[in-house]
Structure formats: C-alpha cells, structure tokens
Symmetry: C2
C-alpha cells in the first residue's frame, strides 16, 4: 500500500474510517484494479465487490464541499481476516486503499484522489464483549454511535462522545472525533482503550494487546493514541474498545445571552474555574444566533450567546445551576432559558446543531465550507465572528493566537499547508518518518 | 545516540526523565566519554560537568531495588540549546545518553547499563507561561509537582496528578505517571498539552507546535502522547505544557472495611456506575491493612478496605457521600471513618502512602520489589492478595485477566519480557520500528 508523499501523508479527516494511498510508481487506474478484481472476489465473494458507477460515486464523497473522487472499485469485507487479505493483495500490487465508514466526514477524507479501492466496512457491524461492570465495550467499524447507545439503553450505560452525525465509532476513533460535551467526557482520545488495526502490508495488530482493556497502562509506546486521529493514513481500524459511562440521573440545558463576546468568554472561564462539572458549553456570536433564528424559526435575542448543559443528580444539578447563574449575572448575562425534559432539551440544542445549515442559508446558492479551528479560551474574544465567511483568514488568525487549525474535524484535504505552520517543520518531518515506517511504500 | 536493540528499546520507567542508549558498535567506556569531556565543558561550563564518583553513583539509581549502574559522566545543561548541543555531540560520537530528573522512579530506568553520559536536568527549573484563564502552564524538567503547586497556591489552581513522590513533572510525562486521584483527573496522558523534545540527533521539536496549547487538536499525528510514557527512549523532554484545574472548594476522605474482596469490588463498580465524581478510590487487602496498622501504629479493622476521597462544593460532597454510604452499606461495608480537615485527611492517607514501606517491613531484612499491575475492575477479586510477595506470578496473572503488566510505573528493566506477552509480537515490532525511526543508531 502506498501513500501520498510529503504533506500528502495526511489523507483526510471525516468521521469515517479512511485510508488514502497513492500510486507512487506503477499503479495504473485502468489496469490496476481490473487485473485483481477476481482476487478481490475470491476474498469477499461476488456480492462483496462492486465497480458500478453509482456505488463508486457514493463512496467518493463525504458531507463536505470537497469534490467527489470515486474509487475504481468498492469492496465489502466481512471480517478482519478479509481486510488483512485485501491489504496484502493491494500492497503487493501497489493499489491505493481508502477505508470508508459512514461517509459523514467534513474534510474530504474519503475521496480517492489517485484512484484505488475503497474498503467499505459497513458489513462488519457487530457489538462485541460488552463488560458492564468494567464500563467497556468492543465494536466493529460498521457500528455507529446511535446504534451502540440504543443497544446499551437497558444497561444504565452510554457512550457520550457526540460529533452530531451518526458516525461510525471506529471512524470517530480514526479522526479523533469530539463534540459539544467534550468538556465533561473528553474526545475519542480519552475514550478509546484498545484498537485492532490492519497495517499497510496486512499485518493485524492490537494497539494495547489482544483483548486488553485496562483503564490505564504504561506498557510500551502508546500505539492506541498514535492511530486515534491518524485519519486513516497509518492503518485500517477494524475494532475499537471504548470506555462507557453511567447515564446521568438528570440533564438540564440552558441558553444565556450576553452584552459582549468578552462577557461570554469571562463567564465560561469562571464557570470552568469554579469546578462546576459542566457537560456542554458552546458559544454562538450574534451573526450566528441571527442565522439560527431565521433558519429554525426561533426568537433568541441577537447577542453573543452561550448554550449550556448540566448532567448529574437532582441536588447536584441545582447547585451547578445556581453557581452558573451567579457567574453569568455578574458578567451581565440575561436570565437563563431552561429546558429539562428530553424533548425541550432537544429543541433547544437543535438550534445549535442546525447552525451548519443556518450558516449555509446566510448565502443562498453558495455551498458552505465547513471547518473548525480552536484557540485557547482567553483568546476567544480576540479571534473572530463565526459565520462571516472569511474562513481562510480565520484559520490563520487561530494559529496566531496559539490555537490549532483543527480542533476536531481533522486536517483533511484543505488544511495540509496549515499543518506545517502549526506544528513546525521538524514535527512534520517526524510525522512523515512515522508514516513511512508504518507504510514503507509511501 | 544509540539505543538498545530488540526489547531493550524500553529502557526503564521511574518518575524521572530518562533516556538510555547503547554503544551498539564503537563506544568504549574508557575512551568514549573521556575524549569529549572538554567539549561537554565548552557547552555546559566547567561547573556543568562531573566525573566524581559520588555524583556518578547518585545518578545511577532510583528508588527501586535495581542495582546502581553509574554513568561515566554527569552533565548539567542549563537550557534546551545546551541539551541539543550535547545530544548532537553524543550522536556523532556514539555516546549513550540517560536523562535524569529527580531519581524517584520505581523501575530502575536511570541505570547506565552500558555506560554513557547522564543529563541531569535539575538546573532547568523555570515555571514559564502560566495562563490562569486558560488553565495551563509550561514547566522545565527541574520543576517538581510540589514546587508547581506551591507556586500556584494563590491562583486558585492546581495540578492534581500525584504519584506520591515529589517527582519532576517532565519525568512524570516521560513515564506517564498517575496516582490515586486518576479516577477523577486522569493520568499524565490526559493532562499534557504540548512537549518540547530534543531528539537523538539534537533536533528540537514541539509535539503540538511551538507555543500551542489548545485543549483539543486533531492536527496531524498525536506526537505528544507518543512521547508521554516512552520512558525516555524516544527523546529528552525539555518542556511540558500542562493542564491545570480549579482547587476544589472542599475535600473529604473516608475509610470503609468490607467482609470480602468481592464486596469491596462490587461497591467500587456501583459507585463509579452511579456517577459519583469520586476523586480517589484505592483498595488494600487484609494483609496490607495489617501491615499498615503495624507500620503506622494504626488500628483499622483487618479486612479488605477501601480508601476514598471526594472533591467538590459542600452540597455536592454531602450528596456524593450519601450515595456512596448507601452503596457500601448494601454491600456489607462498615460505617465510614471520616476525615475532612487537611491534617486529618493527611493522616488517613498516610497509611495508604506508607503501604510501600509497610510491605517491606513485613519481611525484615529483605528489600521489596515494588511494581504495579492493572486489571479490569471486575477481575480484581479473582486476582491476588497484595503483599504476599509472589510478584512475578502476580504479573502473569494480571495478563491472564486482560490486564496490563504496568498501570503506571512503566516497563523499566524488569518487565521487558512481559511486554511481548501483553501486546503481542506484531505490536512490539511496530514499537521497535518507531524507536528505530526516531533513534536511527539503535
């Protein structure tokens, strides 16, 4: 399996498992896959291989604005042994491979820029080894977060990482997905205990050892977190062991608007500093609130606004809310709008979750370029207005404020140049060397 | 810089920054360091280089039973540029390097098994860039966790990871240190935002980019967590940017004894499942409680015992304690012994913190072999009696229960063979390949 050279090592983000490889020397799109189709079929069966145009198109794009780049074939392996056999075959024949989960990514990661074969992992959809007492579960790449949480419903447990889309959990691991409740529960980085990965040459490894699921381990290098966030460029994730949490007794959401961005930022800092174990806290500026109002027919005051959520027991919620309300009022925040029932909370967060579509609606006829940046909290008020369309400047600005060009979506196709600026040449060279080590045909 | 081959890539744990390299071909102990001493002096000054026996002996051991292996020289660099210059010099001359923080490790990591030069980092002791509003701080390797917390005292913030010893924070990063309150605050893995690292050839990198300190980033491979826990074998950590927390309003500790190990384990599972944000929870079996009683002149009932600590506001503590007491009583636990004031809490935890010395006192005349293993919670009651001296069996047993041979101390010198058994040959081969990539003279 061959990979892009240089910066191209970072093949793409998205919420789906993915892997991009390049025909560095002798893969020919016309001959490359054709000649080994029969071998694909001998591995995955007749039904498990498709070269139909519709199927290829469907696997060449995610939910971003990046153009569709269909692969030359799509295969549907049913188990890790088949993934390994496919990888070996591709490795020997220099055929690029691109793993595909649910295609819900936002940075163009699944496009087959140089052709090759897409491995759709949707048929590997088993939920394995649920250990209720140890708060862990192992899933295959076809399992999405909503499917897992439905399965867990009667156990009192849930998996809280929530990027919005109903993404594949292994894909979320590949892209280090996160979401609005990362403040309390962390991102995928903090919640993956072990991974089964098929390497470029077909070798199967278990990053923390086969079947291991200790909460903490200091045994050898942290391979798990090397693959989490590698955006499918170092291997194909075929199993993920995840940490689970007890479902909170009560949840309550709130919206609060502020006279200025600084007042909202100050409140956020003080809430975190007070030790309130807040579950979610998200900021929308006035332009975005206005867009959300129009898009979702709401009537929030057109001001800088915080969306908040609290999880815990009834007593603890009362206290969390009291402290938070105290802080926001000191900073000139309006009274909270509350939502406690599941339906009310859903409606309140719908405004935030639809922000993406609301932003697109600001400029009818344009397709939005969704991306994400992240700066230290205190720099938030110096940074930008979300929704002003000036996205490239915005990313450069975030870097100047000690931030990152991507908080959770990933580097993908669009941010490869920014990566050098962010981590520096020596670090990118180390990343390239690691890439070359794990995928020597790069 | 050269490193051990094969399994020897994992040079050792301990709480200190460390790096072990091997004279794979032409480093001669007698000539190797002698010939470049003057060059060391031109980098670090006359005062910054020592070949005195006492200084070398002091830098050849940690707090474990592993025998003292003094280096051929000890150097005291004052800044990252000097560390880089020293590394370049050692790299060209094939001289092994061993970084040294505070020497408080427990797995023999600082011993100069094949000679070479020890880099004591104690003179690099600045606390840099405290960002109170963003909850982060950057420290050099000479800064210990107690020094940092003293420095932070008036800010309302603290760094909670607490392995017991007053270790160097960069050393804690190198060994992925953890401690009794990891349940609430995580280990070093969750609390390091960025590292400055000098590689084998002297290259200086910033794992998340120079000056970056975003809470979450999905930009490129996670180099930070590759170096966290690498036990000094991939590079010398010269700066760590750490996540800080608000000091909790109140803290309260408790001790509770149980009729059986199973009852204590069931309580632990149920407490975690109930969502109580418990800060510390530690288990001692009857043999260890007896030893602690004798060693610390205490009178705890000689039963399986849980030590617990709760952090939060007064109201929230009350609720956490109520829920916990409910659960323990259902499982046959005795009434709690409480400690709320700082002094009382200290006395209560002293018993637990002295367990190491208490265990040694069980067998007068023997030096204890301290190590640590980790198994999934539900397997705890099937596993072992702490303090029975049967440590090797204990480690093998932990692996059979899906656990790890090291929860926090590291692999070090004593557990290298167990690593293959734990993570499997293909994973160890990947680790070796990564090691070779970052330290090509291995």
């Amino acid at each position: 399996m061959l990979l892009r050279r240089g910066l191209h090592m970072f093949s793409g983000p998205l919420r789906a498992v993915q892997r991009r490889t390049v025909n560095s020397w002798n893969y020919s799109r016309s001959l490359g896959v054709e000649s080994i189709l029969s071998q694909f079929k001998s591995i995955c069966g007749e039904e498990g291989v498709s070269v139909g145009e519709a199927v290829r198109e469907q696997h060449g794009r995610d939910e971003s604005m990046h153009r569709c780049c269909p692969p030359d074939a799509v295969v549907f392996p049913r188990c890790v042994e088949e993934v390994s056999a496919l990888a070996k075959l591709c490795y020997v024949n220099n055929v690029p491979m691109i793993p595909f989960g649910t295609g819900t990514g936002l940075e163009g990661g699944v496009g087959a820029m140089e052709g090759g074969v897409c491995l759709s992992l949707r048929n590997m959809d088993k939920i394995l080894d649920l250990h209720k007492e140890d708060f862990d579960v192992t899933v295959e790449p076809g399992v999405t977060r909503k499917t897992l949480n439905t399965h867990l419903r009667d156990t009192g447990l849930w998996f809280p990482v929530d990027p919005g889309a109903d993404a594949s959990l292994c894909g979320m691991a590949a892209t280090c997905a996160s979401g609005t409740n990362a403040v309390r529960y962390g991102t995928m980085r903090e919640n993956v205990l072990n991974l089964e990965v098929v390497l470029a040459d077909g070798t199967i490894i278990h990053t923390a050892g086969k079947g291991r699921r200790s909460r903490k381990s200091a045994a050898g290098y942290n391979l798990t977190n090397l693959f989490v966030g590698s955006e499918g460029t170092l291997g194909i994730i075929t199993k993920a062991t995840l940490r689970l949490y007890g479902i909170p007794e009560e949840m309550v959401s709130a919206v609060c608007s502020f006279p200025s961005v600084q007042a909202a930022v100050d409140s956020t800092v003080q809430i975190l500093q007070s030790g309130v174990p807040i579950a979610r806290i998200e900021f929308l500026d006035d332009v975005m609130v206005d867009a959300c109002n129009r898009y979702s027919s709401l009537s929030y005051p057109v001001n800088p606004t915080l969306f908040l959520e609290f999880h815990g027991s009834e007593n603890s919620l009362k206290e969390q809310v009291e402290i938070t309300e105290d802080i926001t009022q000191t900073n000139g925040g309006s009274h909270f709008q509350w939502a406690q029932g599941a339906e009310d909370r859903k409606r309140l967060w719908a405004a935030r979750h639809n922000a993406w579509y609301a932003a697109q609606a600001l400029r009818p006829g344009c397709k939005a370029y969704s991306t994400d940046v992240c700066v230290p909290l205190s720099r938030l008020s110096h940074s930008w207005h979300v929704g002003d369309g000036n996205f490239h400047c915005l990313m450069v600005r975030a870097l100047a404020l000690d931030g990152t060009c991507t908080g959770e979506h990933g580097v993908g196709l669009g941010k490869r140049n920014l990566l050098v600026e962010e981590v520096g040449c020596p670090s990118v060279q180390v990343m390239q060397a690691l890439k070359h080590t794990l995928d020597p045909k790069t």
